[in-house]
Every structure is written in C-alpha cells, then in structure tokens.
Symmetry: C2
Subunit: 302 residues, 2 copies
C-alpha cells in the first residue's frame, strides 16, 4: 500500500566534527521518502525551485518515489546551512533561505487524496491540516512538528493533533508541547491531546512508544561513528511508516517491528553525510541490521 508524505525538500550545507558537505539533498520529505521507499511505494508532495537538478529527480524516481506531487516553481529550492558542535546534539544555523518553500501550499491530486497512509512532516500545522482536509478517509495519519510551531502556532497544532493517529516527535518537543519534564507524564498528556500513539525520539538513546495501554522502548543502534545526524528523525519516521504501509498491520507487534525498522534506517543515515548512506543501501543490509537489533535487545540471549 502506498504512503503519502507532505513536507520540505531542501539543500543542506553541513559541517560536523567529521567533515563537510555542500548543498547535499535534504529536507524532511526527502529523508522520509527515501527511507520509506525501501518498504512501500511513496508519493511525495513538496516544492522545489528551478535550481533542482535532474540528477536528483532521477535518483528519487529510481527509488520508486512518485514525484507527480512535486511542484516545480520559479525561484530557489530551500537552503539550510548548519554546523554541529563536538556534542552533535547541539547545532547552529548559519544560513537559512526558505526559497520556494516559503509559500508552499500542498495540493493533493484526486489520486493522492485517496492515500491510505499519510505522513505530515514538519511544516506549519495549518498546512498540515489543509492536507487532512483534502484527504478522503486515510487509514493511518502520522505527523511531526517542531519547537517553532509548538510555541508560535499552538492552537492550530492542538486542533491538528485531534485528527492525527500517530505523533512522532523528539523528547525536547514532547516536553515543550506537554509542559511536563518527565517523559512518561509528557507522553500521557500528549495522548490526551488526540493521538492514539506517541513516539518519542531520543537521539542516541533510541525511541520510546506510548499508547494508552502499552509502552515500548528500543535503544538506538550503537555506532562507533556518527558522521552527520541530519535527517535521522525523518529517516526514522520514513522507515517506521514505510514498514506499516508494507505490512498493513496496526497490531502492537506490527508497530513494534516498524519502530525497529525505523531505527534501522536512522542508524544507517547518520553513517554518512546527507542521504549518502541511503543511496548505497541494500535490502540485505537492512535485514542484517534488523537482526542485530533483535540481538541487541533480546533479554533471553544473543
């Protein structure tokens, strides 16, 4: 079953303690789509400028991503330049040019509006809601958000959350949105705001999932080098939603496996700059790391 994602496509100039990359393909919708494409057909709704290279169109198309919802507009593709600290949980924005993304208005084709699986990547909650308004009756809607919208557009965000099944955010955002420092209490409050499940991303410490009657925690895959954490959260969401769309299952065990697949994809993407590692990734490597995750977390032995 195919999965629709709405979000940003950017170019990122990145500097980490391990090196640099200039104008690497990035943006939440891109990371999500490429990760999800290993599991299910993906439809990307986003906007790019005249500077967007055919080579990247070819790459995304080759990954089976339907780009009929990728709007090409007069102007520049969004651009972000950032530098990570020695502690890569910290980063500074050195430059930001929203380009054509600044007046992005997602429009769904009749075909896209029937998508059974939908992910609303981090954009203005008003736009996220406009996507929901264009949808028929999607089976599963996931969404992400960020500090900017939590503090600046809380009302719109709270309205959106009533219509979303799975909220995928990081721990800092969960605390800010709930007003609770303790992560369990934060998750309980977020569940009261609407979503049936809340997935909290904890960076190098993995992911913890809350539903009204269960908790599941999975560590991040222990890596000797993290080259570039950019896009790890969106890549997680892509693997997670992709596996849900592939299996079609929403049972507790299907969702847990999907969380592990999301973690697998995130563990790969940070091994190189931008999307570098995912461009070269094979299904075999995904399967092998999934088994390593099982062994990493299995109480009954390796």
């Amino acid at each position: 079953m195919s999965i629709l994602v709405v979000g940003s496509v950017f170019f990122d100039s990145l500097e980490t303690p391990h090196g640099k990359a200039e104008r690497a393909l990035g943006g939440a919708a891109t990371y999500f789509s490429v990760a999800a494409s290993f599991f299910a057909p993906v439809r990307m709704v986003a906007t790019v400028g005249e500077d967007f290279p055919q080579a990247e169109i070819d790459f995304l198309t080759k990954r089976g991503i339907d780009l009929s919802g990728l709007e090409h507009r007069k102007g520049r593709t969004g651009f972000w330049k950032g530098r990570y600290h020695e502690d890569m949980n910290q980063r500074d924005t050195l430059a930001l040019d929203l380009g054509v993304f600044s007046d992005f208005e997602p429009k769904l084709s009749p075909e896209h509006s029937k998508s059974p699986y939908v992910f609303l990547a981090n954009i203005d909650p008003q736009l996220q809601e406009s996507v929901l308004d264009q949808l028929g009756a999607p089976g599963v809607v996931g969404c992400d958000t960020m500090n900017h919208w939590i503090t600046g557009s809380r009302d719109q965000l709270e309205r959106l959350l009533k219509r979303v099944g799975i909220l995928v955010i990081n721990d800092e955002e969960a605390r800010l949105l709930s007003g609770e420092r303790n992560i369990v209490r934060a998750a309980r409050k977020l569940l009261q705001m609407g979503p049936e499940r809340v997935l909290i991303k904890r960076g190098e410490y993995g992911v913890i999932q809350f539903s009204p009657d269960s908790v599941f925690a999975v560590p991040a895959f222990p890596l000797e080098e993290v080259f570039d954490p950019t896009g790890a959260g969106d890549t997680f969401a892509g693997g997670f939603m992709g596996e849900i769309a592939r299996s079609g299952g929403l049972s507790e065990s299907s969702l847990r496996r999907a969380i592990v697949y999301g973690s697998v994809m995130a563990s790969f993407v940070v091994e190189d700059f931008g999307l570098g590692r995912l461009r070269a990734l094979t299904q075999d490597e995904i399967d092998r790391r999934y088994r390593q995750f099982v062994s990493l977390t299995d109480i009954d032995g390796a």
Copy 2:
C-alpha cells in the same frame, strides 16, 4: 552462592524537587547489599561510627546480610548532604564528612576471603586492590569507580582493571576513563584495559553492556516520578551481581537477565527517598516488574 561487597556506609541528607530526607541510611555498600539480598546471601565489608543505630543493624541483619565484616569504630559514620536540581542528573554537594570512612582499610576474614562473587564498590582503587590481594580465587569480580579516582589515581585504577572481570560505571565516567566521547569506542577501549565486560549506566536511558563479541542495551523502566536518584547505580549493581550469584550463570543470557534484574531494582529504589522503597519491597513486585521489562523491550509484541 554468597556475594561479598566492599564499600561505604553513609548517612545522606537529601533534597530533591520532590522533598527532603534527613540522615537517611545510604552509601554504596548499603544500597548494593540491600538490593543483592533479594537474590543471594550478602557479606558486607564496611565501617561505621558510634552513631550507627541498632535499628539499622537490625534491618540489614533481617535482610540476611552478614555484618561480621562491618567494623564499628570510634567516631562518626560518614555523612553526605546533597541537593538535586530540577534536572535530577545534576546535584550539588552541600556537606561532606567522611568520618570513620576516611581511614577505612578493608580486612577480610578467612571465611570472607573465599567468597566466589565479589563487588568492589566505589572506593580508592588502592583499597579495592588490597581486597583482591586478600581474596583466594573469586569466580567473578565486579567493580565501580568515579571521576575522583579516574583523574586522581589513574595508575592504581588501571592496575586494578587488569584484575577485574566486570566494570560497572556510568557514561560520564566511561568517557573520562577512555578519553573517547562515543560510547561504543569508549567501551572498546575499556575492554582493552582488562575487564571481560563493561556495563555502562546511562541513568534514565538504561544500561548498555559490551563484551568483545556482543552488545546488549536495555532501557530504564519508564517512571512517572523519580523521587530520589541517590544510590540507583549501586542498587543496579546489587541486583545485577545478586542475580549472577543466585543463578551461578555467566552465559550471555544469564548476564542479560541479571542486567534486567539490576534495572528492576534501580527502578524501585528511585521511587522513594534513600532505601525507603527497598525496605518495603516484595519478591512478587520484583517478579512483576521483571515481566513488565520483558514486555517493554520485546520487539515481537506485548
């Protein structure tokens, strides 16, 4: 099989965002012993002053802890006063009086020197080594340490580590001792220093175990309230070593189960001030939380 622990017995005056406790029984050897006593007979080697109350002797004895190695000396029992910040990973020491602990010299009885399971809690590595010198041929030796010894007594500590099977430290200490920021690289370096296993405690994010050929990660139990984190690490070590002594197993799966039991005990101790929660704890509660841990981490479903 019985387990010998050498370390400190203190009184702690504690202030956390949730309240206060005055002169609560504490110290690494105490937390370790009480936690381990739920699994195996414990022998405690430590020192206390004239102010140590009979009621606490009775409590420890009732828990089956052999106090023949608890030296009663002229002077005061060690005392620590600390205040935790809103973020309970941060704390300030408000007062410290080592009392009789300042010239503690562990002496093992002939009976104790034959102990098959030994834990060297956080004391001067020179004293930790003097305990090893007094031992016959222990089956399993675990040890802890802290920043103070890593920076101030590195040579002695490195000598000790060559003789220790299981190193149990927190992530900050692992980074300091190894000189590596990345936790996987840190663990690899620590394994090269002698221990066959390195267990790294990550507070609210759980524990990760490294051996030369395996990695195991378990999250901390998600709690809605952490009242007092004091002694959580020592309580973890007590549950972990206690379960090893109980099962007698050193297979990968035995050690993993022991890590979960350690995590179970740590998850209880932080629910109340000092040892309060462990004083009231039942075997039934331990078993129930162990099953909750299995469900929390089981990829194949709840």
